[in-house]
């Protein structure tokens, strides 16, 4: 066992971990951060992507299945669960994914959103081709990526202060959404036994 100190979604944890424990398993099993998921065992799918700071304190996207928990010692990690503001306001990327219908089953979504946030850190105003290239390491089987690309470009616009489209561009008949995503009521939970959280 090795002792690590790591900040995850703004909370500092001190934990003993096995040297072989992967960051994603530490997040899911020890911290209950089950919003981050595992989709493959070869680092291809990117579903487990989180942001982790480097020694200079700059956050970058990492596939948490390819990082040992020990390597996160002294670092700060942001998962999909910590992306929204503490007051609950969604991150522009989360809003854009909702508004552009960039998710269906939602399994790749946590990793895709975190990878997209990372992408805009490097390229704040990307072209469609740059978005497609930039998300090459994240697989989605439902959407065909088209609305994901739209969402990332919309989020880039929102982050630069440009007005974000409130509806998909291709559907002029779209009714204005009554409540912005940040205020929409989360769907009530279905009856379940304890979920690690």
């Amino acid at each position: 066992m090795a002792r690590i100190s790591v900040t995850v979604d703004g909370v500092q944890y001190v934990d003993d971990v096995q040297p072989r424990t992967l960051l994603v398993h530490y997040l899911r099993e020890q911290l209950g951060k089950v919003g981050t998921v595992v989709g493959c065992d070869t680092s291809n799918c990117g579903a487990c992507t989180v942001l982790m700071t480097d020694p200079d304190g700059d956050a970058h996207g990492v596939k948490s299945c390819t990082v040992l928990a020990m390597q996160a010692d002294g670092r700060s990690v942001t998962t999909i669960e910590g992306l929204a503001s503490p007051d609950g306001a969604l991150h522009p990327m989360q809003r854009a994914f909702h508004e552009q219908h960039a998710l269906q089953c939602g399994f790749c979504t946590p990793g895709m959103i975190m990878a997209a946030v990372d992408l805009l850190q490097d390229i704040p105003d990307p072209t469609e081709e740059q978005v497609r290239k930039g998300l090459e390491g994240n697989l989605c089987r439902c959407t065909g990526y088209q609305n994901i690309v739209r969402a990332v470009i919309a989020a880039a616009g929102a982050q630069r202060g440009a007005p974000s489209a409130s509806e998909p561009e291709s559907e002029p008949e779209a009714a204005p959404e009554a409540a912005p995503a940040a205020e929409s009521a989360p769907a009530a939970e279905r009856a379940e036994p304890a979920v690690t959280a």
């Binding site: 089950v34 989709g39 065992d41 291809n44 998710l103 269906q104 089953c105 090459e136 089987r141």
Partner: protein, 789 residues
């Protein structure tokens, strides 16, 4: 409440589902943790065909954290074969598919032994301590070799590798003419062989299952598309009374047909939980998924088209060999039958014969994958229509137009005896041609050809229809399917006026929460925001047949409409009593009853729900509820259609293919939510493109899956794909009150031949008339060189 409400159906409502999914507040099966829960790991066979001569798990038992380990022999008195619900013929060969191998393994990846431990890592670690010796047996992988005399047998006791032969002949069925006669008289006869490569469905969430073995109250959480079917079969397979079994499909990360089934892993986890008396969880790795979850396609198609020189088709015959894999899954033998009535597609074909032979090989079993039978059929007919066009020197659109059913000819009874209720193939095609800029691209193609441009341009056409909305129960019965095809819905108007819809469909990305809310809002006249939808838990949604075959809206959506109608009628009785009028004097609109000719005498359904809940003043003999259930069994399938066009550039020096423009015009009938429909089309088209260009499950000569991870199985990324330009025509179905048809599979069915036709079209001047999928640069380049494709 105001009297006028804008209809919800047709609005691009943003999804209610998203709030949880974009914040990580999800409930995947692997997130479930129960007090005392143990973890299971499975040792899988590395051999494709072998006798297990020694198997010893005692070493594993001694490993840290291990509770128990067991083998198929330990389950001799307990385990039974996995179910196949579709014995397509009376004499179909149905080998016993034990969840845990007993003495022989028949594909690489077959479960051999199990470890249960306190944590997942300990369970996996302990697999290393299991000792197994295998005596290898001859492996049979090639379908035609498997059918040949003297072939090694996958199931020795069966004496054959043939599973079944199933035939449809329009002459015999009385639905059309005789193909042999048509072929004898044909002015043009074209024969082709197409091979549908094996695909891996590749849902993003690996499968996971948790079983809590409380006596009298068994609960299974599973990443499944079919919680209701699973509950019934789990009960039958284990002898546990059905009313003591609860199945929950919590959040499910995609399925595409790949999560239809009762799996070995579900049964093994059940047996393990039973043995240890504690909750047990199994979550597979992606490498496990690739070898153990069922695959799709893998069919050889011999197709013969007969026609007159004016392009009129006079006959069609199809001969299939379909790879079952080593065992049969839930609907494995029936998948080709779902395509059997679709080879004639949108065309008026007077004579048709279809024959399919299912064959066993030492491979992972196949079963339903998005489209299930219909992509294969559409591919073959749309490829050979292009060959007919070339033979007759006709434009590929024109040869189709000369044969397809005209709008005014609906309803149309096909050569298979199916009645297509509605469609407008001219409208969809004309719109698609315009969107693509067909004439301009043809001109550019000609220019590039005459200039000898190393980058050639091709245009691929795919006009398709599909039968979906599975399904009329009587037809399923006639096809020997083991279950019905109805769907159920319940509507509860709560005391506060909020509405709870319970549906028997089981979404895993399709957006039923949003779409069903829109339907219920319109039917009841309540706000979209006031509707919630519950599903996927057999204790809440007690009745249902789940989600597959583009059935949820066309069957489940109609059940919801009917349940809402019953609610309104119950409310009418109460409203008439409270408003002191006859029920016939009441008009219902926008959520309120109004007494005709008496302005102000109104009562909303919310007020009625409150009055019914109090039950202080109800008519005599009226139950204090307006809640209602409905079960809908469709009379026919639904038939979405569309035209997909692909313009592809082929670099003749490298074989690289670039999709320059992809246009699709789909007609899925009335659209409940255009945003969701567009998303389904995008995703479907991309899976079709992926079959054409990227994906293939490959085995080596020993039966090892070489494409056993996403390193080798090319799931396309965003960088590999074009933008899809999608549009619609809307020809409402006449077979259901919503006019809906279904959209889940359309894109996947249409896209593959559009892409391959485009590439072949580009390379016609090089003498290329076919290239085996997936069209890798190497295969394309070799085809250009005139080598084997």
């Amino acid at each position: 409440m105001t009297a006028v409400m804008e209809p919800e159906v047709g609005k691009a409502r943003l999804r209610k589902e998203d709030a949880r999914l974009i914040t990580g507040r999800t409930q995947w099966t692997d997130n479930i943790s129960l007090p005392g829960m143990l973890h299971l790991a499975i040792l899988r066979s590395p051999m494709a065909h072998a006798r297990i001569s020694r198997l010893d798990v005692s070493g594993a038992m001694l490993r840290p954290g291990v509770i128990t380990a067991f083998t198929g022999a330990d389950l001799t008195d307990r385990q039974v074969g996995l179910p196949c619900a579709w014995p397509v013929t009376e004499d179909m060969v149905h080998p016993d598919a034990l969840p845990l191998a007993k003495d022989t393994v028949r594909y690489a990846g077959e479960p051999v032994a199990v470890v249960v431990a306190r944590d997942a890592a300990s369970a996996v670690d302990a697999l290393e301590a299991i000792e197994v010796e295998y005596e290898s047996l001859p492996v049979v992988l090639d379908m035609e070799a498997a059918l040949a005399e003297g072939a090694a047998l996958v199931h020795e006791d069966k004496g054959t590798n043939k599973c079944y032969t199933w035939i449809f002949d329009s002459a015999g069925a009385g639905t059309g003419g005789d193909v042999a006669a048509a072929e004898a008289e044909a002015e043009v006869k074209i024969h082709r062989r197409y091979v549908q490569q094996r695909l891996i469905p590749s849902f993003m969430e690996p499968r996971s299952v948790v079983v809590d073995p409380k006596p009298g109250d068994w609960t299974m959480w599973s990443s499944t598309q079919i919680p209701h079917i699973l509950r019934t079969l789990l009960s039958l397979l284990t002898g546990t009374p059905e009313n003591q079994v609860r199945v929950i499909a919590p959040d499910v990360g995609g399925g595409f047909g790949g999560k239809i089934g009762v799996t070995a892993e579900e049964m093994i986890t059940f047996y393990a939980a039973e043995r240890v008396g504690k909750p047990v969880k199994y979550t597979e790795s992606r490498s496990d998924t690739m070898v153990s979850a069922h695959h799709g396609r893998d069919v050889i198609q011999d197709i013969t088209l007969s026609a007159r020189r004016d392009g009129t088709i006079t006959g069609l015959s199809v001969n299939l060999i379909a790879n079952m894999g080593a065992y049969l899954g839930l609907v494995t033998p029936g998948v080709p039958l779902l395509g059997a009535f679709m080879y004639n597609a949108i065309y008026k074909i007077p004579a048709y014969r279809f024959e399919c032979t299912g064959v066993f090989t030492n491979t992972t079993k196949t079963d339903a994958y998005r489209g299930a039978g219909r992509p294969e059929a559409t591919y073959a007919i749309e490829r050979i229509m292009d060959e007919l066009a070339v033979e007759l020197n006709l434009d590929p659109v024109e040869v189709r137009r000369r044969n397809w059913i005209k709008h005014e000819e609906f309803p149309f009874t096909t050569v298979c005896g199916l009645v297509y209720d509605s469609g407008n193939y001219d409208a969809a095609t004309d719109k698609a041609l315009q969107l693509l800029g067909y004439d301009e691209l043809r001109a550019e193609q000609t220019a590039r050809r005459s200039a000898g441009d190393p980058v050639q341009l091709g245009i691929g056409v795919s006009t398709f229809t599909e039968m979906c909305g599975l399904a009329p129960s009587r037809i399923l019965g006639a096809l020997r399917f083991g279950a019905g095809g109805w769907e159920s819905a319940s509507v509860r108007v709560l005391a506060t006026g909020k509405v709870e819809v319970i549906t028997g469909t089981s979404p895993h990305g399709q957006g039923h929460l949003t779409a069903w809310s829109q339907i219920a809002a319109d039917q009841l006249g309540v706000p979209f925001e006031d509707v919630e939808v519950r599903f996927g838990d057999t204790r809440v949604a007690h009745k249902g047949l789940d989600t597959y075959g583009s059935r949820s809206l066309a069957v489940g959506g109609i059940a919801l409409v009917q349940a809402c109608g019953k609610v309104v009628e119950k409310a009418r009785t109460v409203a008439a009593h409270l408003l002191e009028c006859s029920p016939d004097d009441l008009e219902y609109s926008a959520g309120s009853f109004q007494v005709r000719g008496t302005p102000g005498a109104t009562m909303s359904i919310v007020e009625i729900a409150g009055a019914v809940n109090a039950a202080h003043n109800l008519p005599d003999g009226v139950e204090p509820t307006i809640d209602a259930d409905a079960t809908f069994d469709p009379e026919t399938f639904s038939f979405p259609h569309g035209t997909h066009l692909c313009a592809a550039e082929v670099d003749t020096e490298t074989g690289a293919v670039r999709i320059r423009k992809y246009v699709c015009v789909d007609d899925v009938g009335r659209v409940v939510n255009p945003l969701i429909v567009e998303g389904q089309v995008h995703g479907g088209v991309v899976q079709g493109i992926a079959q054409a260009l990227f994906e293939e499950a490959v085995y080596d000569a020993d039966g090892n899956l070489l494409t056993g991870s996403f390193v080798d199985y090319t799931l396309p990324s965003a960088a590999d794909l074009p933008d899809i330009e999608s549009d619609r025509t809307e020809t409402p179905a006449t077979s259901n009150p919503l006019g809906v048809k279904g959209v889940g599979e359309a894109g996947t069915i249409a896209a593959t031949p559009a892409v391959v036709n485009a590439v072949v079209d580009a390379l016609r001047p090089y003498g290329v008339s076919d290239i085996q999928m997936p069209l890798s640069p190497e295969r394309v380049w070799r085809a250009i060189q005139g080598g084997a494709s």
